[in-house]
């Protein structure tokens, strides 16, 4: 491990933010919630009529109250559903649900950032796309935008600036994120520091 990243980990540990044993566990599908999401998507795909649309709205409403973990857990499950979608019906139907349920910024941060590091490529892609919906394009130092930048570096999707070094650039980003107000951003920084490169 790069010495600076080790130092960052130690810093986070002092702050009580370093994970005790590696990254947070990955998201696990809840069969009951997955089935409920699938039912709502099926209702969406049933047809273009008013009856079908009303049914879909009701299903979505039920869905919001069905997740034992609340809306954050529901969003986590919905992201799993999107990452394993088979065909456009599931993928776009799931996306429609996502929009319909109107998750707020904190819900989105809580359901995405802590899981980015542990997620496999498909789920990670969905998590990042969902997280990107709360990026403020007018804010240059939006922490979520920085998280996404760090994630691109960490997964080798973006080369460092000319003359730069990936680990150094990542370290700078993570140090900055470790000081963020949002606990979800800080949790991401801790997990990424423990697993700096894919």
């Amino acid at each position: 491990m790069h010495a600076a990243l080790l130092a960052l980990l130690l810093t986070l540990g002092v702050a009580g933010l370093a994970p005790s044993a590696g990254p947070p566990p990955g998201l696990v599908p809840d069969p009951a919630v997955q089935a409920a999401i699938g039912g709502a998507v099926d209702a969406l795909n049933a047809g273009p009529g008013e009856v079908e649309r009303r049914e879909a709205v009701e299903r979505a409403g039920d869905l919001a109250g069905s997740s034992p973990g609340g809306r954050v857990a529901l969003l986590e499950q919905l992201q799993i559903f999107l990452s394993t979608a088979r065909g456009t019906e599931e993928a776009m139907g799931g996306a429609l649900l996502l929009h319909r349920l109107e998750f707020g910024r904190d819900e989105i941060l809580a359901a995405t950032l802590p899981h980015l590091v542990a997620a496999g490529p498909e789920l990670n892609k969905v998590l990042r796309e969902v997280a990107s919906t709360v990026v403020d394009p007018d804010r240059e130092d939006d922490p979520v935008a920085l998280v996404l930048e760090a994630e691109r570096l960490r997964r080798g999707e973006r080369k460092p600036e000319p003359g730069g070094e990936e680990s150094h650039e990542l370290e700078v980003l993570l140090r900055r994120l470790a000081q963020d107000d949002s606990p979800w951003v800080r949790r991401y920084a801790a997990a990424a520091a423990a697993n700096p490169m894919e």
Partner: protein, 508 residues
């Protein structure tokens, strides 16, 4: 002093060669002799010279097919009517000449017979008996060099009915058999319009040299399979010859360009290992030409032939599915994955089609589809591009077109000949639900089929595209009134319209 009388070479002229009229020497016959054949008959026996002092003759003859040796059978001329053989002169070899045949005093008839290393001899020639043509009987009392006559499989026997076949296949895309199934070109299409082949100017082995300029290319995937058939696989006296009409086509024995057949030569004699053999056709220059399989007789005449027309692709077609649609042939669900159903149809109709999950096109247009198009233009002589897509694949269609157009100067000359959307949704991310509204830049014809029953809550809708040549809200038609975002891409009317446009506007 011995008295030498007449010597009669049966079935041969006594005239010296120089005095023989017509096409002498006879044309060289095919040396094609099939395994298991027995020797044929000698022809063209000529007494080249005669020494009256010794009675010695020098002879020439056309060696028999399938012969490893020849011998002379002779007897007294007085016994010619019953072919009373008295002796043999053995070991003539296969040179076709005899320096000295010296049967001794008296008059003789003689003929030359072929033999093989298996103790079998061939024909003694034909005779006419009572108006019936028949084989001369063999010498039953051979002593100097005994053979068993076997005419059952004579290599100069009647030529059997020869049937040739030729089946070409559609190109390898992206690997052979995936995502498109290995598909034969319909026999009726092989002569016209023919089979498409990618001009092999790309660099599949990444060694910096265009593949067309080298052999033994690892990862080569631009040659087209051609299966040849010949029945029988071997016919005595017949050569199976593969020909090409242009050096722009090359033929190899394998898809990786290890063993050349028609490379630097326009003809090659083939040996069929069985009833079929597979060869691979490469295009090394834009244009078209023919590859033919001919059965030629000993004088080079074509007994029968089959040919195929091969043209270098000058267009590329990109098909982009909807979100989470993975290409397959057949697609995972019959009646679904309409873009891929259409892509498969176009592939089978002879286009160079590449079908993708739309995620291969990033929001900035980069990715595998863009790279494939650029390679086609820069390295494979392609000048026309067609792109169509559904849902997010429609959004990716415009993303791809924008990047191609923005980089046009660096890519080279090409037209975006045709584009189509089917209920296009902008594709800035997998969860982007916005209606695509942008026209692919510089498209020469854009068809836009969308459904929009009044877009509201829980609806995904395409919409009109300003500048499109066709803007059709399918919900306004009788056939499309009930279509939704999830079914519009499978509507036969939509798929048929796009297929018709491409067939009419984009030459492969």
């Amino acid at each position: 002093m011995p008295v030498f009388g007449a010597a009669v070479a049966l079935g041969a002229s006594l005239l010296p060669a120089a005095a023989t009229a017509g096409s002498w020497p006879p044309p060289q016959e095919s040396q094609a002799v099939c395994a298991g054949s027995t020797p044929g008959g000698v022809s063209g026996l000529v007494v080249e010279s005669y020494d009256p002092a010794t009675g010695a003759m020098s002879l020439s003859y056309q060696p028999a097919c399938g012969a490893t040796d020849h011998h002379i059978e002779y007897g007294p001329l007085s016994a010619v009517s019953v072919l009373g053989y008295s002796d043999q002169q053995c070991g003539l070899g296969v040179s076709g000449s005899v320096a000295a045949f010296q049967p001794g005093p008296g008059s003789y008839f003689f003929l030359i017979v072929a033999s093989n290393g298996g103790g079998q001899e061939g024909s003694y020639g034909l005779m006419n008996m009572g108006g019936v043509t028949m084989e001369r009987p063999a010498n039953p009392g051979q002593t100097s060099c005994p053979f068993t006559q076997d005419l059952s499989a004579a290599c100069d026997g009647p030529t059997p009915l020869i049937t040739l076949g030729m089946t070409a296949y559609r190109p390898q895309t992206e690997a052979y058999g995936a995502p498109f199934q290995r598909t034969a070109v319909p026999a009726a299409d092989l002569a016209a319009p023919g089979a498409g082949v990618r001009v092999n100017g790309d660099d599949d082995n990444s060694d910096g040299t265009p593949d067309r300029d080298q052999s033994m290319v690892t990862g080569e995937n631009d040659l087209v399979e051609l299966v040849l058939s010949a029945d029988p696989p071997c016919a005595n006296g017949i050569d199976y010859v593969l020909t090409r009409s242009t050096p722009g086509l090359q033929v190899w024995a394998d898809s990786g360009k290890q063993t050349p057949l028609l490379v630097g030569t326009d003809e090659a004699v083939l040996t069929f290992p069985g009833s079929t053999m597979t060869v691979w056709v490469e295009s090394i220059a834009a244009g078209a030409g023919d590859v033919a399989l001919e059965a030629r007789n000993g004088s080079g005449g074509v007994v029968t032939s089959r040919s195929g027309h091969f043209f270098g692709f000058s267009a590329i077609v990109i098909a982009l599915g909807g979100e989470s649609q993975v290409p397959g042939d057949p697609p995972p669900e019959p009646g679904n994955f309409g873009m891929f159903q259409l892509a498969i149809q176009l592939y089978r109709l002879g286009y160079d089609v590449h079908m993708y999950d739309e995620d291969v096109v990033a929001a900035d247009g980069s990715g595998a589809a863009y790279n494939e198009v650029v390679r086609a233009i820069q390295e494979r002589s392609v000048s026309r591009v067609a792109v169509f897509g559904y849902s997010h694949g429609g959004g990716s269609t415009v993303d791809l077109a924008i990047r191609l157009n923005n980089n046009r100067a660096g890519i080279g000359a090409f037209d975006i000949a045709y584009t189509a959307y089917v209920d296009a949704i902008r594709n800035n991310s997998d969860i982007d639900l916005a209606t695509e509204t942008e026209l692919p830049p510089t498209t020469m014809f854009h068809a836009n089929y969308y459904q929009n029953p009044g877009c509201g809550l829980f609806s995904l809708c395409g919409g009109p595209i300003n500048g499109a040549d066709i803007n059709l809200n399918v919900n306004t038609t009788a056939w499309g009134a009930g279509l939704t975002h999830f079914t519009v891409d499978d509507a036969p009317e939509v798929l048929g319209a796009i297929r018709g446009h491409i067939l009419g506007m984009v030459t492969p």
